[in-house]
Amino acid sequence: MLEAYLAAAPYFGWDLVRVVQELFRYAFMQHAFEAGTIVGLSAGVIGYFVVLRSLSFAAHALSHIGFAGATGAVLVGTAPIVGLLVFTMSAGAVMGALGQRLRGRDLTIGLVMAWSLGLGLLFTRLYKGSANPAIGILFGQIFGITSQDVAVTFVASAVTVVLVLALYRPLLFATLDEEVAEAKGVPVRGLSIAFMVVLAVAVSEAVQVVGVLLIFALIVAPAAIAERFTTRPSRGLLLAALLAVLFTWAGLTIAYYLPYPVGFFITTIAFWSYILARVLAPTLSLPRERARELRAREEQALHSP
């Protein structure tokens, strides 16, 4: 099957101009690249704070809650993105209001997540049409994106990025040092809610590309990798966004030439990049020398007056 496919395959070679022309030959590919770039940017930017705030499980749960919303929307005949946004934003607001109390509540979050998938399953069964919308929501449907979807995604993504930048300093302060930030007058609780709602928007967008189940690849993985290459928050944020976009581009390009799903390629690239980053890990590469140096310094301090 693969041989037959490759024989009829579109151009792939060293002529990069021709490769790009080939990739953008069809409207569905153009839309996929447009939406993928936009979503990658916002996913990477918000993802940096998700990792810093240890909210990756909450982000994952949001996407599952979104599944119930999206399938519910299909059932009542509206666009899945509407149901996604309504469900994830409401759940995000509740999670944000719980704030610190959410930490260590993996059990509760997990149960809500499982129930949401169950609800989604029920909605899928009740829907008399095919099961395709559900599969699309679970695993993404980037090649089915219309120009109208691209426009909606663009607006949602712009809102996400602008809000994260507008909240940047107090959000970083509240993330790194909540008590001091509160004493300095930063509205910690309000920021927590705002952040989760913005995250809900970003998750809803990312679901279109990688689907509910593979959300980690775009939101968490790039940020987790970025964190290992720079300890500067501003650079971490930019690097995470850049990586998310690159993963999406690479996944789309490979999926154009090979008859396998794009979600598989994006998650595979994300996973192996993370493994590679852990192996290289410049920000943490010197624990042993560091311990030695530390001991030497303390020794010296001990003997000085």
């Binding site: 810093l52 930048l165 507008a166 909240l167 940047y168 300093r169 107090p170 970083l172 302060f173 790194l176 040092d177 008590e179 001091v180 930030a181 509160e182 004493a183 300095k184 007058g185 930063v186 964190e227 290992r228 300890t231 500067r232 928050p233 501003s234 920000t283 943490l284 624990p287 560091r290 530390l294 310094r297 301090a301 001990l302």
Partner: protein, 267 residues
């Protein structure tokens, strides 16, 4: 150095409550500008609550409180605050320098624009003043307790405060580091004419540097020079229980008989 001749803190029949529980009351004391005060007392006696009142994070349950000539209010940029914490998450892979920077503009919206050069200078200066240049660019989660404490202090100093409120900065440090950090705080306070309230468990590392101690115990507050407050008579009266203060040959003080008391007050 005379920023103001008025006292830094004036408390008049002040009471503190958490939810419906009265923690202490009838606290009347004055802390002078530039004074270094150690805040002592058993666990759960309301030492951190006092700092929360001064920061405006908790309203007084009764009485009157003035901080730097004003009523306490949240977001007071004249106060540098280092809260109590066990340890910074090891996985926090953010540079110490960025942590310090938040002390200057962490409460402003948006991303940093304009006067960044002068802010960077202030960060450098704060890091130098706590002698943390060697590790300020390392991830803060991977530093030792003493190094983290210095950077937290630098963050508080970067905001150019007039007062420092430090909640157990010496906890989880070994004895040598306790003395080093205590002396560093005292030195910085002298150089910048800062008023300091420092919560501690053990007075001994602080004895050479404190002006007065504020003892919080058994629902009340007592203030005075260490030799006046930390005595068998004073503490027994404050606790309303037999307490004994012992002295060793180096002048160190040891309070005996508190264990049962602190157990009652533990949260």
């Amino acid at each position: 150095m005379a920023r103001s001749s008025s006292p830094a803190i004036v408390a008049d029949r002040l009471a503190a409550a958490y939810r419906d529980r009265l923690i202490w009351r009838d606290a009347t004391f004055t802390v002078n500008t530039g004074e270094f005060v150690a805040v002592l007392g058993p666990n759960g006696s309301g030492k951190s609550t006092l700092l929360r009142l001064l920061l405006g994070l908790l309203p007084p349950a009764a009485g009157d409180l003035q901080v730097l000539g004003k009523r306490p209010h949240r977001g007071n940029s004249d106060i540098g605050y280092v809260p109590q914490r066990r340890n910074i998450d090891r996985d926090l892979l953010v540079r110490g320098r960025d942590f310090v920077h938040l002390g200057i503009d962490g409460d402003r919206w948006g991303v940093a624009m304009g006067n960044t050069a002068s802010n960077h200078q202030r960060v450098d200066q704060a890091i130098r003043s706590v002698q943390a240049e060697a590790y300020a660019d390392r991830p803060i989660g991977r530093l030792s307790g003493g190094e983290q404490q210095r950077l937290l202090l630098a963050q508080a100093l970067a905001g150019k405060p007039q007062m420092l409120l430090l909640d157990e900065p010496l906890a989880s440090l070994d004895l040598r580091n306790q003395i080093v950090i205590a002396e560093l705080v005292a030195e910085l306070a002298r150089a910048n004419a800062l008023t300091v309230l420092l919560i501690a468990h053990d007075i001994n590392p602080l004895l050479p540097i404190v002006d007065r101690v504020l003892y919080v115990a058994h629902g009340g507050v007592a203030i005075g020079k260490p030799a006046e407050v930390i005595t068998t008579e004073q503490l027994s009266r404050l606790y309303d229980a037999p307490i004994e203060v012992l002295h060793d040959s180096h002048g160190h003080m040891f309070v005996v008989g508190l264990e049962a008391e602190s157990a009652h007050h533990d949260a």
